[in-house]
């Protein structure tokens, strides 16, 4: 895959042209977060859901009996509150956090590689994360702490894979092509190790399958908080590199002449993108296409300035994953399907569209 990006002209103009887009995306995401908990696998009326949300947000000041008049399950009103607040809202928030992490990572990698087809899973980071998770499941490590150890091992696996890529990036052979090929080779190797491991543990295979398909269930506020913290810090740092990414689009030599140490910046960006992706993969498994699609959506509506593209991709990514979650619950009521299936349904046609479009012009064109 070669570098096909065109040079973004007038970075200041790009930012000044449509900064309101970020505000609009943020507002839309907020609305989505508020209303998405209406959808779930257990039937709860929308007004009851909203009453519970307002009751919880206000610390109990509003709607002292949020379940009044509602059809309460066997678990009673406290069970209903747990369903809406602890199970659903934490799932909704995780969708936003993970989507945002994948979106901003995708935008970063497309900029680093100057390739519109780059995405967070291209470098084998997800394979490393999956192998880490599989090790915990297959060898039954730390049974009583597995809900935290599993994402921890996945995170370590993903980071370790990212570290190999970083070593390649720092070497004198660290061209874009070398990095991509290293990622592909690593991904294949790790997948082979995973398959071998699972041959010895069919029950582990069942659990790792969930991981490979990506899912938002079985998590809680603690895990949400950890994912949010990592994605917030790494994502914020990534967003500060918008100017450097803009200049990198001019080519490493030009960027160097304009004061950007392209190799050093590239390594830093790969590190941060790896951490962000690892945090996302660690809690939800592999969710494809969010990182690929989100930056392109932002470019379509806000231009190519990376100072807009990166935060915009985070907001679009969060919204994309949230929408996928909601649509899956509408399409298959009462069933929690792996969310990765739905993002791929939306992402695969978009990927094909990009491929066709590349024949004529770059999708990373001028703003």
């Amino acid at each position: 895959m070669g570098a096909t990006a065109e040079v973004p002209t007038g970075t200041a103009r790009g930012l000044g042209r449509r900064p309101w887009v970020l505000g609009l995306l943020l507002a839309l995401l907020g609305v989505g977060v508020f209303f998405s908990p209406i959808l779930g696998t257990v039937s709860v009326s929308p007004d009851t859901v909203l009453r519970i949300l307002l009751h919880q947000v206000s610390g109990g000041a509003l709607f002292s009996d949020p379940c009044a008049g509602a059809s309460v399950p066997a678990s009673g009103c406290s069970g209903l509150i747990e369903i809406v607040w602890d199970a659903r809202l934490s799932e909704v928030m995780l969708a936003v956090v993970v989507g945002a992490g994948l979106g901003i990572s995708g935008g970063t990698l497309q900029g680093v590689f100057r390739n519109p087809l780059a995405d967070p899973f291209l470098l084998g980071i997800s394979s490393g994360g999956t192998l880490g998770a599989a090790v915990v499941v297959v060898f039954r490590i730390g049974v009583s702490e597995q809900n935290l150890l599993l994402p921890l091992f996945a995170f370590v696996g993903a980071i370790a894979t990212g570290a190999v890529i970083l070593v390649a990036a720092r070497s004198r052979f660290g061209s874009v092509e070398t990095l991509l090929l290293t990622g592909v080779a690593l991904s294949s190797f790790l997948s082979a190790v995973l398959s071998l491991l699972l041959l010895y543990s069919p029950t582990g295979s069942l659990q790792v399958d969930f991981w490979l398909l990506g899912n938002l269930g079985s998590l809680d506020w603690t895990q949400d908080g950890i994912a949010f913290g990592v994605v917030l810090v790494a994502g914020t740092l990534l967003a500060t590199y918008g100017r450097e990414l803009n200049l990198l689009q001019l080519g490493p030599d030009v960027a160097q002449s304009l004061g950007v140490d392209s190799r050093k910046v590239r390594v830093r960006l790969l590190l941060l993108a790896s951490v962000t992706t690892a945090a996302a993969v660690a809690f939800t498994g592999i969710i494809g296409f969010v990182g690929l699609v989100s930056p392109h959506v932002v470019r379509r509506i806000a231009g190519n300035d990376y100072r807009l593209v990166l935060p915009g991709a985070a907001l679009v990514g969060g919204g994309f994953l949230l929408t996928a979650r909601d649509l899956s619950l509408v399409a298959f009521p009462g069933t929690l399907l792996p969310i990765g299936i739905f993002t791929s349904f939306a992402g695969a046609p978009f990927f094909a569209y990009l491929l066709f479009r590349r024949r004529g012009a770059s999708t990373m064109g001028t703003p």
């Binding site: 696998t41 399950p73 678990s75 199970a87 399907l337 792996p338």
Partner: protein
């Protein structure tokens, strides 16, 4: 059908090892296992109706209420024990695969659904994603979980929602008996529990007696292939460390896959032909029947070679570590492999 992956089961029968010593070894090992696991199941002394402190099959510690009225059972093997102990009325939820796609029928056979009076309103999705919402809506006081539930999901149920979970994942057939004893303690049904345990032990004793007799007479164990699925490449079967293999050994059979490298290997048609098993037992149920095996390599030759010794059996008997495996599956397999025996 769920494949269970026990970490330790008795070693496979080897014809070169004196079988009498093997049987003695199994009995001693079983005794040691019973003593060890029984210790881990030691219940907290005190009021018989007070909460119980339990260490489950994965070594997790949890406190469960005595005789809980609302129980969610995640695993057909546990449901089998609950039913046989007369505890069906305590069960308010069971595992399902994707309620809007497969639902109950993915995890439970039609016979089980009818016998245990299960309904879709009891569904708790355990696959492809674990759905905690459905579990919470049922308001369980206790969750009993088998291998189909991820440990991470179990820990979430326990730590976030403070619902006690006992994981019943026996590694051996002895573990099945111990789990039934444990359920008897939790639900305070000592009579039903001891009756069931007695039946299970009798079935195992009869199998052991048959082994003793065959060994004493110098009669070799018949070779057998037990397969649970087939495709164009070969026949999927049970390797060392699986319940399927344990059942074959208890039934005084010599599995042709006893020395396989993997727990659930696929034997090629060539391997099966070369082994020339005296008996061919194929698993049925959940959409798999004899026509499935007809697509396997050399099936017609194998059937012919067996001379009528090819028999279909419910796959659950080999894969679900529950009382039915011992009370129904084991005698059926013995009847196939040793038609004249009274075991």
């Amino acid at each position: 059908m769920h494949l269970h992956d026990p970490s330790s089961t008795p070693p496979p029968v080897r014809r070169t090892v004196p079988l009498a010593w093997f049987v003695v070894g199994v009995i001693v090992a079983a005794g040691v296992s019973v003593a060890g696991i029984a210790t881990s199941y030691a219940l907290r002394p005190g009021s018989p109706s007070g909460p119980l402190s339990i260490t489950d099959d994965l070594g997790r510690h949890d406190t469960v209420p005595a005789d809980p009225a609302r129980v969610v059972v995640l695993g057909p093997s546990i449901m089998d024990s609950m039913y046989r102990l007369g505890l069906r009325s305590h069960v308010v939820g069971v595992d399902c695969y994707a309620p809007s796609l497969g639902g109950l029928s993915s995890d439970y056979s039609a016979d089980q659904v009818a016998l245990w009076n299960l309904s879709s309103s009891m569904c708790v999705e355990t696959g492809p994603t674990f759905d905690v919402e459905q579990l919470l809506a049922l308001g369980p006081q206790l969750v009993l979980a088998a291998t189909i539930v991820s440990v991470a999901a179990v820990e979430q149920i326990t730590q976030t929602y403070h619902i006690p979970v006992v994981m019943l994942q026996p590694a051996t057939l002895t573990g099945v008996i111990l789990n039934d004893q444990l359920l008897g303690e939790i639900f305070e049904v000592p009579g039903a529990s001891s009756s069931l345990v007695s039946s299970l032990q009798s079935a195992l004793s009869r199998a052991a007696s048959l082994q003793d007799n065959l060994t004493a007479n110098g009669t070799p164990f018949p070779t057998v292939l037990v397969t649970y699925s087939a495709d164009g490449n070969g026949y999927w079967t049970f390797g060392p460390g699986t319940f399927g293999q344990s059942l074959i050994e208890l039934a005084s059979g010599a599995s042709i896959s006893a020395n396989a490298t993997l727990p659930y290997p696929e034997l090629s048609g060539e391997q099966v032909l070369a082994s020339n098993p005296e008996y061919l037992v194929y698993g049925t149920g959940f959409g798999i029947n004899e026509s499935t095996y007809a697509g396997g390599p050399f099936w017609s030759q194998l059937i012919t070679t067996q001379g009528g010794h090819a028999v279909g059996m419910d796959s659950n008997y080999f894969t679900e570590p529950d009382p039915t495996m011992i009370l129904v599956g084991l005698p059926q397999l013995i009847a196939v492999l040793h038609p004249g025996s009274s075991a």
